[in-house]
Amino acid sequence: MRRNVIIKTVSRFLVPFIQVYALYVIVHGALGAGGGFQGGVVFAASFILMIIAFGLTCVRERFGYRWIVMLSALGITIYATIGLLCLIPGGNYLEYGSIEAALGIPHLHGYLIDAVEIGIGMTVMAIMTSIIYDMGDTGGESP
């Protein structure tokens, strides 16, 4: 089966930059456009581009189901843990100010927001990628 050489070459050059852009959106979620969800979706879009260009099997070798399960579980764990930690000093769920006041570390607030955004981004990326894998899976036969 012949793959289009132009699409293949262009996406070979673009994929790393799209991934770095997605991580930039996640990390700068607190002060710029975007956040965890948008960054995760752009990251998953880079995997869609790789699937279009190189095929499903090649992408699965790079990023298999083991990684998907691990990342989605890890992301939701980060989110839930930080949310629950806010309950200990007596704040609401995800009320970062309570931890900052209890521990007395300045700027902890921003770092906690970033950590929660990273967790959301991981989960969204893993779940979107797994949806695309399942949609592209034709049950063994290649059309």
Partner: protein, 102 residues
């Protein structure tokens, strides 16, 4: 001075984008419409964004816009090629001179 140059670039870019849209309506079939949009839109967009760079001056925002211009000049012909390729493999017939328009 720079603002005038930026104005010239933006106006030329707008002209090309309008021409692309008119070509999309006027040309007789799919392949010729692709000529109008694929070329005129890419250059028009590049020229408008370059005019904005000249207006903005030298800072990180203009470097970002320059990256956007490079990205468009790489991806726009590729997207056009992908659409053309799928139409060609599906057997869309090219228009010859003398046929009626589709």
């Amino acid at each position: 001075m720079l603002n005038t140059l930026a104005l010239i670039f933006i106006v030329i870019g707008l002209f090309f984008m309008i021409v692309g849209a008119i070509g999309l309506i006027r040309f007789p079939d799919f392949y010729t419409r692709v000529h109008a949009t694929g070329k005129c839109d890419t250059l028009g967009e590049g020229m408008m964004l370059f005019g904005i760079i000249l207006y903005e001056g030298m800072n990180l925002i203009s470097v970002k816009i320059l990256l956007l211009v490079i990205f468009i000049f790489v991806t726009s012909p590729t997207a056009v090629h992908a659409i053309l390729n799928v139409a060609y493999t599906h057997g869309v017939e090219p228009w010859k001179k003398g046929d009626e328009r589709r």
